[in-house]
Each structure stands twice: as C-alpha cells, then as structure tokens.
Assembly symmetry: C2
Homo-oligomer: 708 residues x 2
C-alpha cells in the first residue's frame, strides 16, 4: 500500500453500520480521537433535490400512490391501457401544465416542469415517456414551433389529453439524420392546403409513441415544398384519427409491437397518402407560407433555421439526463440496502461477511454511487441553464448553443451510466436482482432505449466534439503562440503537423503540475481539475492538429480524414462531459455546510475524480502527465483509502436520495433479508443452547486425528 | 498514423461489399497487385462447428422448426406452457439422451450432448435453460451422484419427462455458498428414513426451475445428519407433487413470479416440513448411510468429497459458455447484416454512408466479432477437455480440477461478453434494435442471469485466482531462484517482500522483449503471447508476494489481507481467462488451410490480442512492458490497419457462423433495409428524370448570392 499523507483531518469511523467497524482500522494513526463521523442526511437530501425541490416533491408524492405505479404482471395491451389512464390522472393531479404559457393555464415554469417530469420514472418509465411524448414533444412542438393562434387552438386539448398526439419526426429510413426525411408537405395554392405525402416505405414515420393506438393528431415533420422550392424540414399539425379511433382518409399505420421495454407505450408507424390540411396548420414560428405560396422566415439561413427549430426540443435530452439520474439513485438504493444486509461466506472469525464489506463489492457499487452524485449535481447545473434560456432570462444564440452542447454531452453519459449502474446493481443482488419484484431488471429494460432515442449517444457526442473543435480553432486564431504553447504545442508540433512519427514522451516522463509535491498530490481539488482539464484540452488540440488539413481538402478526403479520427472525437467529447460532471460535483461541495457531510462528500468526489483518472491511466502515462509511481498510487488510494472510508457511509449516502419505501418498492430493500438472517441465527442459537447441534464431520475427523 | 511495416503479404481489398472499396486505400504501397481476398466461408464454418458438428447440426435443424421457436408475444403463463411442450418435443426428437448411460438408452456422448444443448439458445433461451434443469441438473444429478440402482429406477422417467424435476440446491439465504445451506436431512433409524426439513425461511430452496409448477420430484441438497454428526451437503431424491400436481404432505412452495427474462421457466421456491423419504433415496455414490445410520464414503476428506460432488455438475458452466458464444454469433450476425445495409448521413460525395464504414461502428462491432471467434475456439478446447474427463479417457483428480478451473475462468468471461455484445449490437441497430421483432432485446434479457447463476461470475473468478496462486506457490517451492528471477523477482522483491513503497519502473521504461525490433514488433504471434502471458504471471507473482504473510496470520488478519486484494485477484483471473481464449484462437489458426481465410483470421486474432493489450495499456506502461511510443502504435494499428482490413470481411465472418434465416429471425437481417433504400433511391431518380425534384432552398440562396 502506498503511503499517502492525509489532508482531511477526520478519519472515517463507522456511522450506522456495526458491520463496518473494521473501517476504523484503516484510519491513519494520526493520534487523533476517532470521532464518529456522520452526514446530515436531510440537508444533503435537500441539496440533491435542488432548486426545483417543490416540483420534485409534488411528483414524488404522486408516485407514492399505487395508481401511478407499474404493475409488472400486465401484458403489453393491459399495460398500455393502464398508462393511458395514468396520463389522464396526471392531468387531474395538475402535474402537466407547468411549462406552458399562462394563456392556456400554464405556469411558464420550465425548470420545475422538467424536474417534476424526471421523477415520474419512479412510478413507471412507460408513463414517463408517454407523458414526454404528449407534453414534452407533441404539445411542446405546438408551443415552441407554433404561434399564439396555434396555442389557443390546439394546446388546451393537448394539455388535458382531449387530443392525445404523436410527434412524427423519425422515419424508418432516417433517425439521427432528420434533415434527410422523405415525407413531403407540398403547398397547393389552388386549395390553400398542404399535401402531406409519404413517397416510399423508408419515409414512414416510425417508433412514434401514441401512434399505434391513442393519438388523434400528430405534429408531422416534412420537407416543406412550395413553388418548386424545398425549404427543408418543418412541422405541421395533422389530425390523424377520428372520434372512433379510426384513421382519417389517406392515413395508415402499423403497431411497432412488443419492445425491449416501455411496453406501456403504443409506439407505431404512420404513413400519409396525399393527406390535405389547411395552410395555417403549419407551425410557422420559424417559417411561414402565405396564400400565394411565398415562403418567409425570420431566420435566413436554412441550416440555422433547422437547428433552431430542433433546438426548441432540447428539453427531451435534458429530462432523460435527469430521469437516468433518478433511476440510478433508485437502483443504488436497492443494491446498497441489500448489500449492507446480505451475508455470504464465513469471514475470518466464522461469522458470515456482509456483501458491502467485500472490497470487490465496494469497487462495484461505490464508484457508481460517486458517479450518480456527479450526475445529480451536473444535472442541476444543466437544468439551471435550460431554465435561464427558456424563461428568456438568458436567451441568446450563444446560450442556446451552449445549452445544446451541454445536452449533447450529458445525455449520452447519463443514459449509458444508468444502464451500467442498474446492471451492476442487479448483478450485485444475485438471483434476487433478476426477479421482477426487485424492479432492477424492468428498470433496465425500460431505460435501454434512452441510449439511442432523443439523439443517438454516439451521434450526440460527435456534435460535442465538433463544438469543441470550433471553440478551439477560435481560441487558436486569437491566442498568441506563447499562451497556447503551454498545453498544445508539444502535441500538435510533433504529432500532427509533420506526421514524422510518435512523440517520445515516455523517455521524458515527468509529473504534470508541481513536481515538488509528494505522491499524494493528485488528491487535492486543483490537481484533479488540472489532470481532467488538461486531458480534454490536449485531446482537442491533438485532434485539431490531425484534422487541420481538412478545410483545404476535397469533400471526400475531408470526410475520410474525419472518419479516421471518429473514435477519438467521441472519446474527447466524453472526456469533456465527464469534466463537466466533476466540476459540478466540486462546485456543489462549496454549498455543503455540515462538516461531516462535507468530508464524506469530498471523499466521494475524490472517488469520482480518481476513477475517471484511473480509467484513462494509459493516456496520462503516455502523455507524461503521471509517472508510473503516481499512477499506481491512484489505484492504491481508491482501494486502500477511499473505499474503506466511504463504506460506512454507503447507506446514508443513498438515504440522502430521500426515496420512500413507496418509491423503492423492491422486496429486498425492505429489511427482509436481515429478518431472515436473524431468524436463522436464532434457530442455530437455540440448537446450541439445547445441545442439539450436530457435530461437524470435519471436527470429528480433526478430533480423531488429534487423539491418534 | 504510425508507420508500420507489414509482415502479411496480402493487402486487404474489398470482398463482397462495394461500399468497402475504400479499404483498398489503406493497403500499404508494396507494389504488389491488390488481389481480391476472400475467405472460405463453408470451411471456416465447419471449423467453427468443431468436433461435435453432427450434434450441433441436429439441434440447429430442430431450431429451424417454428414449434421450437420463441413466440415473443406470449405472456408468462402461456410461455411456460409452450416451453413445457417444447421439452416433450425435444424428447420426441431424440435430442436429450446423448449424455446418459447406455443402460437407460443413452449414447454416453458427453461432448455431443453439450454441443447440442448449446444450440437450443437459437430457439428460445427459456427452452434451453428448462431443458438444462431437467436433463443437465435434475437427471444429471441422479446420473452422477446416484448408483446404477438409482439410474434404473429414476432416470428413464426423468429422461422422457414422465418426471419433470427440480434441482433443489440454492436457498434464499445461500446461493454461492452452498456448503452453508440450512436444509437438513436427518436419518431416523427407527423408520429407516431421511427426514428432510427446512428450519427457517432463509433455508427455503429458491430460484428452482420447474419448481413453481411442473416438477414432480426434486434432487434436494441438504446437510446430511446421522448419529449426531453432520456429514455436509448431500443430495436426496424427493418426490414433491402427486399426479394431480398438488404438493405432497409437508411440502410447500411459492412461485418466483416474473423475472427479467427466461419467463418460459417456472422458477419457484420449495420448503419441507419433516418430509420423510426412504434411506435409499440418498444419491450415494460419494456418501452412504447403512441401516444402522453409519456413514461411509469413498472420499475421506469432507471438503474434497463436497467439491467432487459439485464437480460432477461442471457441465452447467460449460454449456453456458457455449450458449453465450452461440448467442453472440446471432447478435453480431444481426447487427453486421444491418450495419452493412443501413445508411445514415451523407458522406463526402453526397451519398449516404453505410454504417459499417464509420470507424466508430467498426470499433463497436469488429473487436466484439474477434472476441466471439476467440470464445468459440476456446469453448471447443473446453468441451474437448470436458469430454475427455467425463468419458473416462482422462479422468484424474488433476484433470477434473483443471476442468473446473477452466469452467470458472471461461464462464464469467463469456457470459459477461454475451451481454456486452448483444447490447452493443442492439444499440448499433438504433430504434430497430429495441423492437422485439429484431430479437436482440429479448436475447439480452434472457441471458442476463447467466452472469450470476451456475456460479456467480465474481465468485468463480476468485476460485480461478486461488488456483493460480496455488500453482504459483508450488512452482515457487520447486523452482530454483534463477528460473523465477526472470519474471517474478522484480515484482516480489521490490513490492511485497519489504513493502518499502512502489517500484520505480517508470524511470526505467524499456520495451519488453526484443528491443532491437521496430515499433511493429507486437504484431507477431510470439510478441502478443509474451505480453499476455507475462501480464498473468506478473499479476499472480505480485499477488503471491502481497499475500505471502497470510499463512502465518490469524484467520481474521488473513481474511482482511485477502479482502484488500480481492479486486486484483479477480483481475488476475480475468487476464488468465483472456489468455486462454487468445491461445485457443491462435491454435485454431494452425488448422486453417485456405490462404485467404488464414490471412483474415490472423488479422481477427490480432485484433483480439491488440484489444486485450489496449484495454490494459496502463498496466503495460506502468510495468515497463511497453514504451509510450509502442503503446500508441497499438491503438493506431487497430484503427488504421486492422479495422479497415477486416471491414470488407465483416459479413463473411458472420456468414461463417452458418446461421440460417430460420435461426436469425430478425426482420432487419433479412435484406429489407437494402430494399427500402433501393425503393427510395428509385423514387428520387424518377423525380429527377421527370424534372420534378424541388430546388433546395440552400442552392437557391447560393445561386442568388452568386448572381449578386
């Protein structure tokens, strides 16, 4: 074990778990009294709930009611009916109007709306996503892409579920590349109508929630053609079913059928055969056509216009980031509650060992707990940014672009993380984790698609990388050579400009930062920040260098050059997103007042930072940022210090998620395992007290041998 | 891009996929004619089917029949009934007797039995695992733990499903630690009977396939107590339900209900209240009790006896390794077929790019394809070892222990790999991947539990690590100091013996192996072997050093010392398993005769080896086995050489799995995507030919600007 000097003054001692008493053993012998260290669960819980705690609490209160909870035994059809009913109940509960204009009875509370929506995942992810389709996509498209007239005409019925609606953007042939959609909306001057048409099978709208059964209308995204010109993809309000639920003339569709999860949603396909709607059904905030078929738009560039329209829908990505954070909190609460009760295999003194006392179990769950805290704090920053933009407080092109980049960076990280966290939680609970009654498997199945819908994760990360490169090239254009030299010259110089071969940093391994300090130097906040930030900046600088020639190349060569670095682009974007999460976690520490909480949370933040560095250790070694000596110290510090210190607080750190039993609803998280063990122990104790314990054959043999 | 000299003479050129033509661009300019390179799919396919091809083909033929295929829309209860019916059909098809004694109509063909069983996963994993419960656990326990008398009495009915049975080993309170089971079987001399009893809730048998509904009997594992002595866990045949399907007196149970997958199996719980069965119901091959209650066993040591009994059930782990390999083949076939047809986003020349031509897509799928090949070849070696032991050809204590270690090493790797591979395949297919009609989500859900049943993966890897440490200490005891110095002295000397701190290898970075060679040296087989082998040996040596004091410590201290290195133990075991897979893949190359196949398969093996090294690059850097220069070259070689070379062969390499359409049964793997694109392209071509293509607003703007 590497010897590290501790900078924190309070050594860990067991908090609420007698089984963790051995944690005190690892406290450094500082001579200080080992004061019991506790965290202020209630205060930390409030901090985690964040600025929109009132909205989260309201939604959580609803989710304690059985009517909003998933019934795992329902088949697809019954599940769909139940979820439809739940949407009506959400309307009754006043849970759906928050984001909408006051003119239609809303609160114009964007942050609160998303916060509330995220918590619905505790009831049933199907209900959450169907609600997201209805209010976050269908109604929100009317709100953000339409005008006051459209709001007055369609929003009230959309809000109260009189008109269940579909958001008809994705096609079978085009998902990530919406701009290439095949559906057309052609203006017919003779009748002052749009003709909506699906010209081939690949242009069928697909995967649309509400489309298979319940939608009465759809916001249809189509190539807008008038007077022989295609103005690109625009959104049009199209009624699709009559009052009996039958398709209107020219409209047809299919059920997407059973899915990997979210089977409470009736996803389906739609196609249009010369379907006519009035010209005024075009949601024309960003593009209008007059009765002569003349197109006009407040945004001249078709490209910028398209991205502005899509940008109004960023809340989908934001809410997935938040929902995945909530689901991760739930999964870890279940696994850590069980892990602090369940015992398996006798330890050194014969008593069976609690799972959470195994190093491996700590390694599996505690870094994921740290990650969940990072996701939670980062999400709050994200939501604040969103609320500032959408409330108009800070609504500029730049802040909208920043928000979209943030969404593209955080949504992939948290949706992947949730799958990883729920899966590890499920495996950590063994066979129990596989039972539906313990909820982990169904939660994972439902959240699976979060990684590829609302923007495929790999595609989103490339958007982030492109933004990072753009920012870099701006900086590069402005900065003087000296300022840049500090972090990019080495990389770009050796590597990309002349392509003469690899840099030879290994021969020159030097610790990055202040070399005078001891091996423990990476433990402090500034060192972690420096290592994480430097990695992002260096990766971007290296990429910029490698892609430098692209602007002077032909299109094909440039595309090939980009493609040869696609994997690196994505890795750089990921590193950027992780840095954002780390920064948010670090900033949150400043707002903690309780000393014990601050100490424990700082360890948890260190665990998050160290785990990120450890994951990319090869990079730090190859780039001469860490010596092998210090690199090894990082793993040793995680295993030898951070995990044992955090172990006694694992339960409290999940208690701070403030999830009630009615939210958790997992049999193994109810204390039943501890009861079973007490019953077993009492049985064996009684046998012993009555002298009825059989002799173990092993002891008998040992006895025989010793008598020989 | 690092410049590497190629040792292979045949550069890659596109095989069957025009879209991959650009792959030829990366071929080194050797001046050679770029001959088209193809693989012999049929021959490679036969090689992959292996020694028991006849059994695999028979099972695969059955799996083309709809009656053996999963109906994804069935709910739990209907699915259970269907699967029960499928088991009867497997009996009729003569697919279940292979492993059993000729005395009961079997073939005594152990390898063929497992090979055949593994392919059932193509029909429905629920059918596979329920068949595994019936014949691989229940009947196999009678076979391996019972005597000829037991065989004659119970096997025929077990084999033909007259007696569906449960394998009652796991309890709610004890899964991985079977030896600590709570159920007791106490001999009553007065009546010459065993009294089976469940003393508390934690001792209920749990998760048992067949137990909730169909089982008529169970092999119950219980602490065997006679004359006041507990002889440890033994297996007893216990009838549990009468002809009406009602529990016999003293027996009760519960349904485990819905699970994350495998819902065609009726898993359940059983408990026993002083249930009496005749003394002769003890499956007494390894432990008998006479009518006076006197216990005897051919194996004196209770510990060795217990592990011998459990060892007879190793085939469960083996078959999971094989089943996961088959499922991975299926998943990659689906994703790669779709990935070579699906297009998204326009490339450099306007035409949309095939997904498989994106570097990231290659990075996601091709290393997993390499891994699947490694798993397949390693499984064949594994199965040969198993067959040799169970046929009696090589049945020694040592070979049985080797087999168990192999099982404990490979089962975790392949069960985790299958989940990872299926998930990546599902995400690589986007929204299509989430639809049940494309099978990936249901396959993943069903295979989820493979990671924690038949031995929890983390527990199994610790068994492997213990074996590695034992072997190491034997070697260490025998070897002279000089022989060991070569690979362990550095580690053990600096690190563990004196605990004075970390080694300072970083100051002394030197390439491992022959330093005289160029940067490309790791490409050859021996270098890969050296790097992979050295890592395992060094990790084990380091661990041995760190754990050295344990034997002299108190039990508690020793347990704590082990626990502090638990994560490293598991990592060492994983490295060992990966080396075994690499070795098997490498050995398989020797049996390839076709030159093209050999070249492509060697690239694929290199990709497997390089990916393993890349994953552990930090280790190689910190231990001075690779310089930063060479470490970077590994990633560059994967991205710049191996992926583009393998890309044109991706489809052929999955064709060699010889899965028929009736096995694949995924809509997106039928060519439908290519048809849809052809239809769309024809539509746009027709518009162009008729002059009906609308002008793009962007082009219009560009035109206006240029006219200004």
């Amino acid at each position: 074990m590497t010897q590290l000097t501790d900078s924190t003054t309070r050594p860990a001692t067991p908090a609420d778990d007698a089984a963790a008493a051995s944690a005190a053993d690892i406290a450094p012998a500082t001579g200080e009294v080992n004061l019991p260290l506790a965290i202020d669960v209630a205060a930390l819980g409030e901090q985690l709930l964040g600025q929109w705690a009132y909205a989260r609490k309201h939604a959580r209160e609803l989710m304690t009611r059985p009517e909003f909870q998933r019934d795992p035994d329902l088949g697809k059809d019954a599940h769909r009916e139940r979820v439809l009913g739940q949407l009506h109940k959400l309307v009754e509960a006043g849970s759906v109007h928050r984001a909408f204009p006051k003119s239609v009875g809303g609160d114009e509370d964007n942050g609160g709306n998303i916060a509330s929506f995220e918590e619905l995942v505790l009831g049933d992810p199907s209900m959450q996503i169907k609600a997201g389709v209805q209010w976050g996509l269908f109604a929100a498209a009317i709100q953000h892409l339409g005008t006051d007239e459209h709001h007055a005409k369609w929003l009230p019925d959309a809000l109260d579920m009189t008109t269940p609606g579909a958001f008809a953007m994705t096609e079978t042939g085009h998902g990530s590349d919406v701009a290439a959609a095949g559906t057309t909306a052609t203006y017919d001057e003779a009748t002052d109508e749009w003709v909506i048409h699906t010209p081939f099978r690949a242009a069928w709208k697909d995967y649309l929630g509400n489309a298979a059964l319940h939608a009465k209308a759809a916001v249809v995204f189509a190539q807008l053609i008038t007077r022989g010109v295609n103005h690109g993809v625009h959104a049009i309000y199209v009624p699709i079913r009559d009052e009996n639920g039958d398709f209107l003339p020219g409209i047809g569709g299919e059920d997407d059928g059973l899915k990997g999860g979210l089977n409470g949603i009736d996803n389906g396909r739609l196609h249009f055969t010369n379907v006519r709607v009035p010209r005024t059904n075009l949601l024309n905030r960003y593009g209008s056509v007059d009765e002569n078929g003349v197109y006009s738009s407040p945004i001249e560039s078709p490209g910028r216009r398209f991205f502005t329209m899509l940008g109004t829908l960023v809340q989908g990505r934001i809410s997935l980031d938040g929902a995945c954070t909530v689901a991760s909190k739930l999964a870890l609460t279940i696994a850590i509650r069980y892990g602090t009760e369940r015992r398996q295999f006798a330890g050194g003194e014969g008593e069976e060992v609690v799972l959470m006392d195994y190093q491996r179990h700590q390694r599996r769950l505690l870094p994921r707990l740290a990650q969940t805290y990072a996701m939670s704090f980062a999400h709050e920053v994200f939501l604040e940014k969103f609320d500032a933009v959408f409330s108009g407080r800070d609504d500029t092109d730049e802040s909208r672009q920043d928000l979209e980049t943030l969404a593209a960076a955080l949504k992939p990280l948290s949706t992947w993380a949730a799958l990883d966290i729920i899966q590890e939680a499920r495996e950590a609970c063994g066979g129990q984790g596989f039972l539906a009654e313990n909820r982990l498997v169904q939660m994972r199945a439902d959240l699976d698609v979060y990684a590829t819908f609302e923007g495929d994760n790999n595609v989103l990360l490339q958007l982030v990388a492109k933004r990072l490169l753009t920012d870099y090239s701006k900086k590069f254009a402005k900065a003087d050579a000296g300022a840049l030299a500090g972090y990019v010259a080495d990389q770009v110089g050796d590597r990309a400009f002349n392509k003469s071969g690899l840099r030879r940093l290994a021969q020159n391994v030097a610790d990055f930062g202040s070399t005078a300090r001891s091996v423990g130097y990476v433990r402090d906040t500034e060192s972690q920040r420096q290592l994480l930030t430097d990695r992002v900046e260096t990766m971007v600088a290296e990429l910029a260098g490698r892609l430098r020639g692209a602007s002077k190349m032909g299109k094909r060569e440039a595309a090939e050059l980009f493609n040869r670095h696609q994997n690196e682009l994505i890795e750089a974007a990921r590193a950027h997103g992780e840095l954002l999460q780390w920064e948010a976690f670090t900033e949150a520490l400043d707002h903690v007042e309780h000393a014990g909480t601050k100490t424990v949370l700082t360890w948890l933040r260190d665990l998050f930072g160290f785990t990120l560095i450890e994951k990319n250790l090869a990079w730090y070694l190859m780039h001469g940022r860490l010596s092998a000596h210090r690199a090894q110290a990082i793993t040793d510090y995680i295993d030898g210090r951070l995990l044992p210190r955090l172990r006694p607080h694992a339960r409290s750190l999940t208690d701070a998620f403030l999830l009630e039993d009615a939210h958790i609803r997992a049999e193994i998280a109810t204390g039943v395992e501890a009861q079973r063990q007490e019953e077993a122990a009492a049985h064996y104790a009684e046998l012993r007290s009555r002298g009825l314990t059989p002799i173990d054959e092993k002891d008998l043999l040992a006895g025989k041998k010793s008598r020989r």
